[in-house]
Amino acid sequence: MNTVVLSDPSPEPSPQLIGDDLRAKAASVLERFVDQFGGVGVRGAVISTADGFDIAMTAMPEAEGTKLSALSSSISAIGDMATLEVGIGNNHQSITIEGGDGYIFILNIPSAACPMILSVAASKEIMLGKLMYYARLVVEGMAEA
């Protein structure tokens, strides 16, 4: 019925408000994170601003990380509204999407100055408990930033 034909999105400039030090910190935190899995399970990870700009990504093609940043931003905002509506908090802490061949995990990184989101793509081989443990360390590491 009412389908929309998408034209190619023109690339939007990454905002200058994201400082180089924040990018460097995000990159090193992500690097440490994926190292914990020795190449098994984690397919990629990206840290983005709450409004969907990528700050740093690892083990992921840039186009995919940019797109995932925007998608996670929308999903995360809807997650926040849902937790608020149901009365289980003002913000979600994590959202899990299970696909046929893997998972996407979205975690809120609270920060007054620059609220962020961690998105992790993982295959089914991943150990969920281990992943959540190290993902939370990323959140803690970045929340102090």
Partner: protein, 175 residues
């Protein structure tokens, strides 16, 4: 209760969230987050959707959805367009190229516009410099799109209700 889905789209900062807040009878659902983009000139921006409701008499209700403005959220445009019966495009006249802005939404929502109803609203209109209303109408005519183009202040409830009126008239004549 007959329900219609109406979609608000348009440039970032034009007032999509504001328009829905102005007329919704329920506390609107908003997905505003802190903006990290200084070029859009406001502190918060919609990243998923806005939602509000307004009833028309005892038998009809409009469900009002707002889209994010920025093009990197175009996937939300596609999702939100499903089942919509009318589209309101808000264009911010104070941006550098409002005509080009309008074209982005006309192109992306082409099918929805052709199958439903559409009103183009020029926000923050400054008639002392182009493009004038006729310029918008002319640009649409070149795309074989003939729909109302009106200036409005979407902070004003009465003016937003007038926009919906224009949309509903089109929807009724189509049925």
């Amino acid at each position: 209760m007959i329900e219609h889905k109406i979609l608000f789209t348009g440039t970032v900062g034009a007032g999509k969230t504001t328009a829905i807040q102005a007329i919704s009878e329920i506390p609107p659902v908003c997905t505003d987050v802190l903006s990290s983009d200084p070029t859009i000139g406001k502190e918060k921006t919609t990243v998923a959707l806005d939602y509000g409701e307004i009833s028309l008499g005892k038998t009809e209700r409009l469900r009002l959805y707002g889209t994010p403005g920025q093009q990197r959220f175009a996937f939300m445009w596609k999702i939100l367009a499903q089942g919509a019966l009318g589209l309101v495009i808000l264009v911010d006249h104070s941006r550098p190229d409002p005509l080009r802005d309008l074209m982005i939404y006309l192109d992306n929502f082409k099918t929805l516009i052709q199958e439903s109803a559409c009103v183009v609203v020029i926000c923050k209109m400054d008639e002392s410099h182009p493009p004038l209303l006729e310029d918008f109408t002319q640009a649409m005519k070149q795309k074989q799109m003939v729909y109302p183009v009106i200036p409005a202040d979407v902070r004003d409830k009465e003016q937003v209700l007038w926009i919906l009126e224009l949309l509903l008239v089109q929807m009724e004549t189509r049925q």
